[in-house]
Amino acid sequence: MPLYEIEDACFWLLRTPPEMDLENADMSIERLKQFKPSTTRPDDFEDFWQLTLQDLRALDLNATVQHLALRSTEDVDAYLVHFDSLHGVRVSGLYCVPKHAKHPLPTLVIVPGYLSDPDFQKGWARQGYATLVVRPRGKSGSQDQFDPGYPGLLTHNIVDKYSYGYRGFYSDAVRAVDFLKTRDEVDTQNIFVDGSSQGGALAFVVAAFCLEVKAVSAGVPYLAAHIDNLKFAKTYPYQEIGDYLARYPEREPAVRETLNYFDIINFGPLITCPIIVNIGLQDNTCPPETGYAAYESIASAEKQVYLYDGYGHDGGRLDGHLPIVQEFFKKHWVKPGDQHAS
């Protein structure tokens, strides 16, 4: 269960168990707030991304949607989707559409973790969502033209923001929303995004660049204050950067400069939609300090963070957080004919 949820500058205790150590709870928050990331925001940050998105949208989607009888059930249709993305790289997605729900459908974009191999999310489809699981370049199913591998992606061309692997990777996540907006079955007023770890970072990026997204859940976010994470826990995948800088210490300024364009702390000020973030206070992969800094950067007037003490990179998702995400999305459905509801 979450220790507490914090909304904006206030916090209250959620489901206080009698044994909760309130002093330790306060210390955790203070510890998180004390961390100051070394991230800086380049003056041309928004220009860089404007140009990237312009390049992206200058390309035809060239989308194909292939029905997969093998993966479909009596209540869900499953599809393999392909579309063209930045620099002409063709990427894929796994798309589930509920068979018996009324169109247009609320729609969920699920963005993947760093190591995971995405699969069909029929469970969300059964809740009524058209659900697209994006497979950005280099992921299984999207690796024919770009495949830096794992370890590898995190430091791929890391000295150059124009060719850094994540420029295309972030673009692919945004492209998924472009694809969904072409679909008749999609209710474009009700597009939601959910992701954990790298997916949490991609959720930030999609929220920042796709203003039509209705609400976002970003779990245990990765790609925040990249190098700072190594102060808290030397573990992979952030250790890929540790390895790189140990070998090439003279490149650190160039690495930092590149990462400033991809650090989700710099995307936070562009996020205006409702958003929830969950963090495990013992996260050994994406330390809570950097995830909390990413949360603090969010400009949205409606943001909440859920802190889970005694939980690691699962961020509480396996022990009660998933229903919170489900309720959060439902709460923000725009009902037909009510365009101003939240």
Partner: protein
Amino acid sequence: MHPDSPAKPADFAEYWAEVDTELAGLPIAAEEELLELRSTEYCTTYKVHYTGLDGYRLMAYLSIPKGEGPFPVFLNISNYTSVLQILPQGDAVEKRRRYITFTPGGRGQRNVDKPYRAEFPGFFLDGIDDPSTYIFRAHIADLLRGVDYLLTRPEVDTDRIAAVTKFDLSVFIAALRPAVTHLVAKPVFFYDTVNNASNKTDYPLEEINDYLRSFPEKEAGVRNTLSYFDIRHFAPMIKIPTLLWGNVKMNAPLIDALGGVVETRDTENSFYKDGVFQEKWIARQHGFDGPILPENW
């Protein structure tokens, strides 16, 4: 167990003996490729290439502590994933100061994907209609081959080789390679697979449901194939200390069949709590005062 739970095939032992016979007919032919980028002041890391079944060229990550060995081994058996990791995500890199870490790849995974690249989802079902064509016959043989290579290393402390996974492939390794001294496993796939899948809707077990929904006439063949891979049939061959994750009641037949000292543990739904417990268990089994944990644990 379910009344349809697979019986052990009469030729189970011969089936797996044949895998070893085929492997014995091929040289390991190892080549170590130094990875300077992943080496540190306390360990040296390599990509190792060697030959598996049918002459397929395999790959593993190997890290050896600097200094005088021999060293205990953390044999990192992958989950159901395309990615091979030098160390599991979130593990303290400092573990490589104490342990040889070895991650053998199986055909289909990244770096072991030429000519065969696994699809996800899809890998679990490849060739499943027949035990002789089922991809996991070769995939498990590839992991066994990795252990065979590992045992050629003079740095290995042969009294302390822990096969560790969050999945069940380590069970096959522990059963078919008695050199493994400790086992960590979680029954996920290869445990009364068809019956367990029928109660699930998530992948990867949903791959089985997808297949049998489309091809119900193939169920008998699928069950027959998977009977050669059910970990209950391997369990009696394992006589080493074992940490088995999962529900105790559901795992009871497996626990009863395992031959060594078994500690069972159900998840606390916390990567942190489960992770600390497991690291402490491994360290204790290897005779260390404490585990090497990430700094923020």
